[in-house]
């Protein structure tokens, strides 16, 4: 596949161009308005022309809530920059609102004086009422604090498609491309990547491809010829590390990471899953890659999904099961069985707001303690957590490496923000990936099912089909070495401690925790998972102002890196920001007797950088 390189500047215009370092745009409309596509296209194009990017799709749990209603609003925020960025931005500087409901839901986030592009066609009495507007905001003065551009996007789209053979309803649906065209002009983006995408996507339906192309061009040309905006903006190339890149969402990176791990390990993947938001995309992505020998199994329920994955692990596959928090709750008993039978199993938890059904499409980090302790009795597991969407790739490989090397279940704690969010990913060279070829036990001499490797305490992976290694495993307590059922008190005490020790020994394979900033000082901000972007950006901003603050980010949560205790002790205050009520903070306090401070938020959204800066400031 050849990489695309495009000229950065694409248009000549008599209008002045203003240089900007970074812009945050939010596209918002009805869930049927194609806002995710619009945002996704703007993102890809920006990445291709060399900006750094970070995105936050935000869509409702309802597939098509009533058109024009507040619950039906779908949004896509992206930050594109000429600097290295790690978050999708706090407040958008630009809001494109395709209807009154989208305006109502999102206007509170737009920064004062920000650009507001409104599709005036949708501001009719019916839609205003559905959005709960008593007066029309287009003319009641309520938007006077913003730079408002009122554009009849729907009717302009229809006009542009006058000669299209498509039905009227379908023509109307091209309005997202019209809006995209406007924004491409305003931010000086080339249309080519999207035109190419339209061709590929709608190649089989030439009239749809043509209509979307016309709408995109019409929007772009309208902005150009009507001199709608007095300025247009330019965001230059970021200083990005040289290399080959692609844009990737966390869920894609997760799936590709596990396939890569399977290839490195030389064992096929079996993925058992039951559809659940926001984890289903992992199932979709894996099921596309059967030519890697990937076996995907859409089970009848969460329990069958993990049961089949454990069965496949017993039979020598890399057993994966993927879900979100409510599914993990259902899988708990089976995870305990994988602990007892010491089989390599990876449980992917793309966390979402809870408890119960909670906020299915919103992000949260509140399953850490569930992963850690959410089973009967003493049932330790390994836990890894990716820090960014692209990091899902690396941590997927790590999860497999640990699970297979130590013959134990490992949790992979992603979340909705990581799973759906995207960022440019520097495509790694295959040589840089870890060696992890797996050797199954085949030697019958001296075989016992619970014989242990001295260093890792792992038992042999002896799979059905291997002559001479016939053995039985199960959920009843085992005797060490023989694997025979054993109910003796001392044996149970020994085995409980042995299983704990085995997980602890994974620490041998966990890299030391790195500190961002000075290795000691007043404040250490300790994070895990998807808060990486916000924390690092906040800490970096404060460091630039000379503040004595450092940060560290845990990607291994059980066991912790071996130097964690020592790192914590070098700082006066440890602050732990989390999208839960302080779960990591509780573990840190319990384990290291450090008076760590919890900084928590559970709004279904990532931290804003400004929130973190303000809170951290209080401890300096």
């Amino acid at each position: 596949m050849s990489a695309t390189t495009l000229e950065e500047r694409t248009i000549n215009t008599k209008l002045p161009t203003e240089e900007l370092e970074a812009v945050t745009i939010r596209f918002a409309g009805d869930s049927g308005d194609g806002m995710q596509v619009t945002g996704g296209q703007f993102t890809s194009t920006s990445a291709i022309i060399g900006n750094d990017i970070s995105t936050l799709p935000d869509f409702p749990a309802e597939i098509r809530a009533p058109a024009g209603s507040l619950p039906g609003v779908s949004g896509y925020q992206l930050n594109f920059s000429s600097r290295d960025i790690r978050t999708p931005g706090d407040e958008p500087q630009v809001l494109v609102a395709m209807n009154p409901a989208a305006l109502k839901v999102n206007i509170k986030d737009l920064e004062p004086g920000g650009i507001l592009v409104l599709n005036t066609d949708e501001f009719n009495d019916g839609n205003l009422k559905k959005a709960g507007y008593a007066a029309n905001p287009l003319n009641d003065g309520s938007l006077s604090g913003y730079r408002v551009f009122q554009i009849p996007i729907t009717s302009l789209t229809l006009k542009a498609l006058e000669n299209s053979s498509m039905p009227f309803k379908q023509q109307e649906r091209c309005k997202n491309f019209y809006a995209l065209g406007l924004m491409y002009w305003l931010y000086d983006r080339p249309m080519e990547p999207t035109l190419k995408w339209i061709d590929e996507k709608f190649g089989a339906k030439p009239e749809v491809a043509e209509a979307n192309t016309m709408a995109l061009r019409a929007g772009y040309n309208y902005a150009d010829t009507m001199e709608l905006f007095t300025t247009h903006y330019h965001v230059g190339k970021a200083q990005i590390k040289p290399g080959k890149y692609r844009n990737i969402t966390g869920n894609e990176a997760t799936a590709i990471g596990f396939i890569t791990a399977s290839q490195l390990a030389g064992r096929p993947i079996f993925y058992g899953s039951y559809p659940i938001t926001p984890a289903s995309d992992v199932l979709h992505e894996l099921s596309k890659h059967k030519n890697f020998g990937v076996k995907t199994f859409q089970a009848e329920d969460e329990i069958a999904a993990i049961g089949a994955a454990i069965g496949a692990a017993f039979a020598g596959h890399i057993g994966l099961t993927g879900t979100s928090g409510p599914g993990v709750a259902l899988k708990s008993e089976a995870i305990g069985l994988a602990v007892m039978t010491e089989l390599p199993l990876i449980v992917i938890d793309v966390q979402r707001g809870g408890p119960s059904t909670g906020l299915p499409t919103k992000t949260e980090q509140a399953d850490l303690l569930q992963a850690m302790f959410g089973r009967n009795s003493e049932s330790p597991v390994g836990i890894v957590a990716p820090a960014t969407p692209a990091d899902c790739f690396r941590m997927a490989i790590e999860a497999v490496r640990l699970a297979t090397k130590y013959m134990a279940p490992v949790f992979f704690l992603s979340d909705g923000y990581l799973g759906n969010g995207s960022e440019p990913w520097e495509i790694p060279s295959l040589d840089s990936l870890p060696e992890m070829k797996i050797k199954l036990r085949t030697e019958a001499d001296g075989f016992f099912p619970y014989l242990r490797d001295e260093k890792t305490l792992a038992r042999p992976w002896a799979v059905p089909g291997t002559p001479g290694l016939e053995h039985r495993i199960g959920g009843l307590e085992k005797q060490n070495i023989t694997g025979n059922v054993n109910y003796e008190p001392d044996n149970h005490d020994f085995m409980v401690r042995l299983r704990a020790e085995k997980i602890q020994r994974m620490q041998q394979d966990v890299p030391p925790l790195e500190v961002f900033g000075k290795p000691e000082g007043k404040v250490l901000v300790l994070g895990w998972g998807s808060t990486y972007g916000s924390i690092t950006t906040a800490v970096e901003q404060m460091q630039e102002k000379g503040k004595a603050v450092s940060s560290a980010h845990l990607r291994y949560l059980n066991p912790f890196p071996s130097n964690l205790g020592e790192v914590l002790k070098r700082f006066k205050t440890v602050i732990v920001p989390e999208l839960n009520l302080g779960q990591l903070c509780m573990l840190i306090r319990a384990k290291f007797l450090v008076d760590a401070v919890s900084l928590s938020q559970v709004k279904g959204k990532p931290f804003k950088v400004s929130t973190l800066v303000n809170k951290i400031q209080e401890y300096l």
Binding site: G293, K295, I303, A308, G311, A315, P467
Partner: protein
Amino acid sequence: MSENGHTTNGAVKLTRKDFQTDQEVRWCPGCGDYSILAQVQKVMPELGIPKEKIVFISGIGCSSRFPYYMNTYGFHTIHGRAPAFATGVKAANPDLQVWVITGDGDALSIGGNHFIHSLRRNVDLKIILFNNRIYGLTKGQYSPTSELGKRNKSAPMGTIDYPINPLSLAFAAEATFVGRSMDVDPKHLAMMIERLAAHKGSGFLEVYQNCNIFNDGAFKSFNEREVKEDRMLQLEHGKPLIFGKNKDKGIRLNGVTPEIATIGENGITVDEILVHNENAHEPNLPYILGRMQFPEYPVPMGVFRAIERPTYEQMLAGQISAAVEAKGAGSLEKLINSGETWVIN
């Protein structure tokens, strides 16, 4: 021949003993489970399958201790979920012969969902359900197959739950093989186990099994030596449904209701008696037979249904081959470089 029973050319000559383990069998003395274990161990060597290619998977309950006593691969899993684990094993390695050992509580109560879905997918699993109509391991509560009104530990005034018919459920779930046997007829049981082993696809064998501690004599009203010929019906493919000591009673249909007819009385001839066809594509007739109960009817034993259709693991492997054929064997280099890429210099 090596220790594990292989000759150098891979042929297998095993004996019943090869399938026994060194683990002490811990069922209650007199339990029907012993008979089933003995018949399975007897049939195994005759299948000609190397024992490393055989896997016994169970859930929880008395019957689910079974894998510990079979010197094959085995997995004693969690309550009700054995078919799910077995599906994973079979999908991962279709070369294995995978057996599921379950009970009435395990398969039909807590595991009902996995039971029906493994059957409908036609995963090549050999499921033996030990039906003793009681919970044994938890000491005597009623099960989903306990008769209405049965008095027991958890229903001292009698159960008010209508029982489920395991065969009706299996037909509804599109099982491709459905059979029934009982612990007290070892010869028939061995024959049914062989049939189940030979079937390719989701196979289900219900075995009436006596729990002599908590539900003793549950089946004796029809399966004791003196009465069984009159109260049970042996199904034979292609043969009329005839039973009775004198082989003079048969089953015929009155509309969709079965009725007992005595051959020779009122001019009734054998031509009026229903002929059993286990290969019928639609399970309507086997369904009717599966619902016949004593004392209204004789209890049918044998193979109710045996049809062929592609199995889940075959189709799964088929999709993988098709994907490899269409796209070539997976290349990591291609995978990570797919989609829109760009180069930063």
